[in-house]
């Protein structure tokens, strides 16, 4: 990420940003499958072939939007977190913060957590951005554990072989054991899943007050992770 020196480099950086912005706008309107490189080019008044100077393929453009969205949802989670509050309040606040972003950016949310494009595997660079949201949840539980307010593990035991050693290493400075790690994975999965259900219409005619049901889900999952809900 060096600063552009020449005028050409500056222009290139600006145009790249413009393309990305236009693509993001169109993504928000027509979704990922409807996003067309040609229409992005049209919006910017350039030939479609010119866009390929900046993004090698449509998938590359989508990957850039993917990273951007991962960072946004991670930032939404981090911004909603007040490290000085009680763990239960923090937990609910972060869940609500993520929901707020998801409701305001449903196409981006679908891009992040929906059906992956068949021939497409998310490049490794997305890993760090993708981790910000789950890590925010993990920090809350870690703080509660450090403060000694974490309840004993409820529910059945988890096979220690089910979770990778890498995962335990990543979370090692938070001193999580296998059980706590597995429950955190499930909490992260739950947050993503319940929002997917709400956004994709799977809860129509099932839940009446989506916000209330979401809060219920958040409290449930927080209690499952040892936080003092109820």
């Amino acid at each position: 990420m060096n600063a552009p020196r020449t005028a050409r480099e500056r222009a290139r950086a600006e145009l790249t940003a413009e393309i990305l912005a236009a693509a993001r706008r169109q993504l928000g309107e027509v979704g990922a499958v409807g996003l067309s490189l040609r229409s992005v080019a049209r919006e910017l008044g350039m030939a479609s072939s010119a866009v390929y100077r900046y993004f090698a393929s449509r998938d590359d453009l989508l990957t850039a939007l993917l990273v951007e969205s991962y960072n946004e949802i991670g930032e939404a989670a981090e911004r909603a977190d007040d490290p000085d509050a009680a763990p239960e309040r923090r937990w609910l606040a972060v869940w609500r913060g993520v929901r707020g972003w998801a409701l305001a950016n449903r196409h981006e949310y679908a891009l992040l957590f929906g059906t992956p494009v068949p021939g497409y595997a998310a490049p490794h660079l997305t890993a760090e951005a993708a981790g910000r949201m789950p890590l925010t949840l993990a920090r809350i539980v870690a703080d509660a554990k450090r403060a000694g307010t974490l309840a004993p593990p409820p529910g059945p035991a988890c096979d220690p072989a089910a979770v990778t050693p890498e995962m335990l290493v990543i979370l090692q400075d938070m001193a999580f054991d296998v059980e706590e790690t597995a429950r955190l994975v499930l909490a992260w999965n739950r947050l993503v899943a319940i929002l997917g259900y709400e956004l994709h219409g799977h809860l129509v005619n099932i839940t009446a007050d989506d916000a209330a049901f979401f809060d219920y889900t958040a409290r449930t999952e927080g209690a499952f992770n040892g936080l003092a809900f109820d």
Copy 2:
């Protein structure tokens, strides 16, 4: 679903089935976004325009595959269920049955529970087929409740206004209250979500033994729904 009388009607029914079968085959190979009406027509040796006599649009064809897949996953759940076994065994068996179908039909699974096509809303006819799998889970809990082996509700309370009255009516002959209904919705959501994570690669480098982690998830969710796991 009347029996075909004339030769024309018989031919029409057969061709419709052939188109559907070819489409299903291609869906399994290239996924929903890669499924092209033209290539289906090519496979059957007919003009692409002829297919439109049988399916008004690509979305219509996809809807037919959607209903077919919903019924298959529902049948997989029902077939895995042995009503004479203990509720805990039934619960785990159904979860595993659904996982088996999902692993063997990942593109169909993605079609059912992945990102919905932007302009597309699932027609109402899919509702009955879509309900078979969740209802199988509900029956197990209902039987356990009837047998008096259901544990008291764990976790935080649910706002009674969160769940629709319709939902309670549907499950009324099982005599579920709001809490039990909400937990069942979450169990159904969990089953779909954890399989989505496994199939879409969100658990790579996180879980080591996917089957073991899935079983852990099933037991966890079963215990949350009052079944006697652990």
